[in-house]
Structures are given as structure tokens and as C-alpha cells.
Subunit: 460 residues, 2 copies
Amino acid sequence: MNQHDLINPHKELRSVLGTRFSTDSAIRDAHARDASYHSGALPDAVAFPKTNSEVSEIVKICANYSMPIIPYGTGTGVEGAVVAAEGTLCISLNEMNRILSVNADDRDVTVQAGVTRLQLNTHLAELGTELHFPVDPGADASLGGMTATRASGTSAVCYGTMQDNVLGLTVITADGTLVRTGGRARKSAAGYDLTRLFIGSEGTLGIITEITLKLARLPEAIASAVCAFPTVDAAVNTVIELIRSGVSLVRIELLDELQMDAVNKYSGLNYEVAPTLFFEFHGSANTVAESSKIGGTIASAHGSGDFRYATDETERKRLWRARYDSYYAALNRRPGSVGYVTDVCVPISRLAECITKTKTLLQNSNLSASVLGHVGDGNFHVVFPLEPGNNDELAEAQQISDQIVDIALKIDGTCTGEHGIGIGKRAALEKEHGDAVDLMRAIKHALDPQNLMNPGKVFL
Amino acid sequence: MNQHDLINPHKELRSVLGTRFSTDSAIRDAHARDASYHSGALPDAVAFPKTNSEVSEIVKICANYSMPIIPYGTGTGVEGAVVAAEGTLCISLNEMNRILSVNADDRDVTVQAGVTRLQLNTHLAELGTELHFPVDPGADASLGGMTATRASGTSAVCYGTMQDNVLGLTVITADGTLVRTGGRARKSAAGYDLTRLFIGSEGTLGIITEITLKLARLPEAIASAVCAFPTVDAAVNTVIELIRSGVSLVRIELLDELQMDAVNKYSGLNYEVAPTLFFEFHGSANTVAESSKIGGTIASAHGSGDFRYATDETERKRLWRARYDSYYAALNRRPGSVGYVTDVCVPISRLAECITKTKTLLQNSNLSASVLGHVGDGNFHVVFPLEPGNNDELAEAQQISDQIVDIALKIDGTCTGEHGIGIGKRAALEKEHGDAVDLMRAIKHALDPQNLMNPGKVFL
């Protein structure tokens, strides 16, 4: 598209948005990529709508000029789902950041897509609702982005993923139509589940502008614990048995010995350098005490070291801060590095096998990478700290990531538990779902016949 | 379609299925309708495949002859989703009744679509897994049918609906292709959520032949209780407060005074004839005792009568049998009647208002109908025992049902919490979702361009 062709859409977009339409190169650069190694070109412009009707107008203008659209939340994704290209318009949802309604009796809330999860939880605390939004991917991501990527994170073993916590959506479709899916009822059997079709569609079917979310009750009591194990197997078997025992586990994270070493160094801690589980139990004071005791007994039967408890809030926060900082700790193993991170998810009975095979691959490679994961879901990540611009390292990391996907798929797993497809896992999606990807393509074509909504993401 | 045109598809279908292809009029009649008042014509034939490849062959033959297909489970639906028409082939999934794999460590199971929920739970008990499939719509429905209609029922307040409990599907699409969606991983961010698109699609997008389900741990202890209230408001407020208190409620059912009178008469019980809650608490022995105590205290604060407990299994089963038999008890209010049942679901804070307005409508009508529901989800049913063949009564029931939907939609509810759309709620779906129904149509057209998969159901 040459400069002449661009004059009209830009002019029309500026007439809708005024100064909230930008072609400034620094702003375009800030919206060109996500938090990962994936690179792209700059978008031609960035739009900052505040309302549904503005998004609708923008989409209609883009449809008229066949200008592709890339929606942008906080840019904290890692598979390149928001990576830009020349000739595209980035729609930042950043200024759609209003909390529209809170219904405490119904335990639901409706927010604009740019509201972040911490913003929401702060607001709920300020209102004194005793409710929170529990899905926690680590980053303070926007709820629109979390919805679009079907995010999950550390608490999914208890609360589920975005798929389980979204009741309804407002979406602007490819022709600029405003559509409301789902609603505020806790359940509905009214037609196709469009809500869950848009969840995880990574902006390829329409732009999510508002989300109605379920809220959860704040726990009465919380206890955390950290416990080292002789092997990954022992740690995973502890988790399988813990889940079977029915204790109220809210978070259960595994960090391998490399990751523990990184965490100790980055966060100034002194944990044993061994495969380690981080636990969090919620419930009444009694339940939490009972759960922690059961946890300690089961871990000990699997040869664990001491069960280090933390019920005090400061100590708990310090402990989980270390977990949240894991990604940066992993990169800090090699100062100045750029992160390549992959994730797979397998049935938990096969998790130890999958991690062991992954670690063998890593030992036989030229790269060093740490492993950490949401073990209760069978989901783990591998973080490679790569030298920026080193294409050999990048190619090797990609090759190992492909091999990890192959291992996971062979044992009934999925190529991504929570990071999504973006541009990084398109080939893996084909491997995993085969003919089902043709159904996805047919749906995409039906809902976006011009292929303007985040084109090239999820599949080609 | 005249007899001549039918010779070839019938011949081809018989060559695939042998005696499992039937044109017997009694068999066709047994597959012409569901459990409700909705009537249809007989299908031309009924097929009883046993395998995925047989279903695929059947679908390919039907596609070739443009013969519409209606999948059939146990026929226990109530909105006419399996109602037949002339010129159609009914595919009964009844002989696809094998449990394909049970993975106790991963708490998942894969079944053929014709397996019923009691068959599955009996099998899990026989294996000694200490696991069960918790979604419980009352009827011993097939798991394929429950998936296709996004069924829920009494335990959804704790375990969610089919939407929350299906991990993956095998589907034969409209051109006979076998597609696998989702998988055995507890979560996945791999592409569009086709699994949830098929859940609740009522056979209009493809035929679900296999389902991978999450299983839940059997509770250590169970306690039930029954408690009468002066008003529906008092009962609903008790539930709102109970949920807020965080007790482990598994079932919480509301029956109005007409329904309690019907239950007393039908099941030989002597409960007070007043709005009544049936509770079920699960957990450890301690938790259950604690929960029941909290339940009693909250109910009493809302002016309830005695909290009648039942921890003994026989007593519990008798009590819940009465709840399960509610539909028959409601019809027994008028011996020889046929049931017209409707359901809506609203945010729980608006439930009392919705039921009160509904009861006013009923009092001003010529019909008598009882109200019962899954109050924890904000979902309730109205059961009209109608005189068979009385079109005036049917028209009045339909008109009242439309008005109940209008009330529900005005207060952010949905036209059906769990019964689905079928043919009975198509107009209601349009009212509720407007432009979103056009997206559903676009998806239907993309996946079933010949409109052969259960045509005319969900929308026209």
C-alpha cells in the first residue's frame, strides 16, 4: 500500500479519534511486538478508542479500505499474537479502561477490555466486596488480552482459565457490528457458545471490547509452603496424590533446579537447589491447616525435604514474588539475554515423563534452559535466555521447542497450555489438530471474509 | 422426496449397517420426538451405528443424497431438538455405548456418545476409582445428548455444566470428516475452542461420537437438608447469603408450594406446603457438619422453619428421589396430562423478582403450573400439566412462556438455562441475541453448507 492509498483511511480515522489516532514512530514502535523474541514491522498507525462505537467506526473504515487490524492490550503475550506488519492499524484497548458494573450478590463484573486484572482487584478491594478475580497469569495483563488468548496461570488448578471465568462479551465483528454474546446469567443453553469461540481467538474473529466476568470469594485464610524433592517424578507424584486427596489447592508450582538457582540469585533467597514445589492453600483457617498438614505428609512420603510454611502475609508475598519473577530470574542467568519461552500441557500422569524427556533434550543441546510450570494442570514452560540477534541460538531453541511439542502430542498433550498460538505455534497447531484447523479456517472465513482481523495469526 | 428417490440412500445405508438400519414404523415412531409436547413426523429410517467410521459413512451417503440427519440420544430433551420430519434419517447413538478409557490419575474418561451418565458412574464405582461424573440433569441421559444440549441440572452450582466438564470431542462433520477437538490436557490455548462450539450446538454442526470428560472426586461425606420458607424471597436470600459464606454447596433446589404439594402426594411425603429449599453439602465429615450448621443459621435468620437433615443414605436418597420425580409429580397434579415445561435463568439477585412476576402471570391465567429450580444458578422451571390435544391450553402455555422469557431478558437473564433452544425457543433466541444469531447462522453455513445436520433446530 503506498502513501497515497493511506491518506484517506488515516484522515477518516483521525476525524473519529482526533489526537487518539497516532502515526508517531515511537508510539508505533511501542505497539509493534509483544514480550517475546518475535519481531515484526511497525503498524502504520495506532488508534486509542474509548467506546464501543468508536471501535465500530474504526473497523468500518478499515473494512472499507481493506486495512488489517491488530488489537493490542498490554503486549505481555509471548507467541507474537500482536506482532505488527506494514499496512496495519493497531487498535490499543488501553483507553477502554473503565469498570462498568460490579454486582456483588451475583458475583459478576463487567469491564472494558483495557482494564487490567490488578486494576480490577484493587477496585473490588476498595469497594469492600470481599470478592476478587482469580485468574492470574503473572503479568498485570488487560482482561481483554487475557480473554483473547485464553490466559490462565498459577491459580487455574483451582479456578480454571479465562474459558471458565467469562460469562459474556461485547465484540465488534469484522464488519463493525456490535454483538453481545453470553450474558450475566450463570449458565445458558441459548444457542452456540460464541463467548468461548471468541475466548482464545487472538483477535482473529473480532475485537473484544467488554467482558463480563465471574468473581470469586476472597479466601478466609491462605497458607503457602515450599518443599524440595529429590526428583521431578517425586514432586509430580506428590501433586497427583494431593489432588486425589481432595485438599483445597489453589496454586501448585514446580521449579526445576536451574530455575531454583536462578530464583535464589535473582530474589536473594536461599532455597535448596533441587526440583521444588510452591504450594498455596485457601479456605477457612481449619481447612488450610488441615490441607497443609496433608500436603506435608504426602510430600514427605515422596522423599521431600522440609515443608517450609508461610502463613504471614509478608512472607507469603515474598515467596510468591520469587515465583512471579521467575521469568526475569531465568533471563538473569545470562545478563542481557532475550527470552524464548515455550509451553506445553499434558495429562498429569505423563508430566514427569514429559519434563524428563525435555530435560534430556536440553542436556544434549548447546543451550541452557530452565523449567517451571503449573504442575497441577500438567502445564510447564521452558525458558531459554538467548543472545540477542544470535540466529543459531534462536534456530536451536525453536527446534527444541518443536521437539518438546512432539513429545507432548505423543502423550495426549497440547502444544500450548496457555501461551496461545500467535505466530510461534502455527505449525504445532496443524500437527495437533489436523482437520480441525480447517474447521477453524472455515469459521474465520465466515466471520471475517476479507481476512482483516489480525491476519496470519493462529493459522495461515 | 418420493419413494423412488429414497431407494438408493436406503440401499446404501443398509449395505453399511445391515440390520442396524431400520425402516420399521414402530422404531421410527420411537425416534420421532423427545420427552415434551413438541410433535413431529416420523423419520424415514433409523440408523444404529457402532463406530466412528460407520457414522462417517452414513453422513457421506446422506450428504450425497441431500438427506437431512437428526442425531438421537435418549430422547429426554424437552425443547424438540430431536423432533423428526419426513425425509430425514435419525442416527441413534444408542449402540455407541462403550466406555473407551478411564484415567484415574488424570481424572478423565473417554466414552462413546451413547453411554449414559448412570452407566458411566456405575462403571467408575465398579472399578473402585473413587471418582464420578458429577453433571446431573435428572434423567439418565446419554453423555452425547448432554454434550449436544449443554446440559446441567442440580449439581451445576458446584460442578458447572457440560461446558465446564468436557475436555475434548470426536465429531463427524457435515461432509463425513472425523475431527478431534480439545484433548486430554486439562487446559489448552491451541486455536479456536471448537469443543465448546459443538457443546450446545444441538446436532446442527456435526455429530458428536466420543467425549472426553473430567471426573470429580467422590465426596467423603454428604449431608442433605430440607427447609420451608415463608416466601420465595426469603428462600432466595438465604441462598445468596449461603453462597457468599463460602460453604461447599453441591445442590440447592427451590420448589414452590404447588410443587411441594405435588411432591408430597406423588412421593408419599409430608413436607410443609410452602416455598422450600433442598440442600446438599459435600466435603469431609467436618466440613459437611460445619456447612450444615451455617446453612441452618442463615435459613433461620430468614424466617425458615426447621432444617430437616438427612445424613443417612436411605433418607437422603428418598429425599432426592422426591426432587428427581418432581416433573412426574407436577404432571400427576392432573392425571393423564402432557407436560409443557419452560426454563429461564437470571442473575441470582433478580431471581426472587423473576419468580414472583412469573407466579403473578400464572395466577392471572387459566392454567395451573408449579415452579422449581436450580436456585444457586438463578435457573428455574415452570411445569404446566396440559390436557393432551387441547390447543387453547398449549397456546396459553406458550404465551406465558414467552412472557416469562421477556421478564428474564429484561433483568439480564437468558431464555434458557439448560433446556436448550430446539424448536421451542427459536424466537426467544432471536430476542435474546439479535445480531449474534447471524454469527451463529454464518458458522452453521460454513460448517454445514447443505443444511443437512438437524436442520431447522436452534434457528431457521
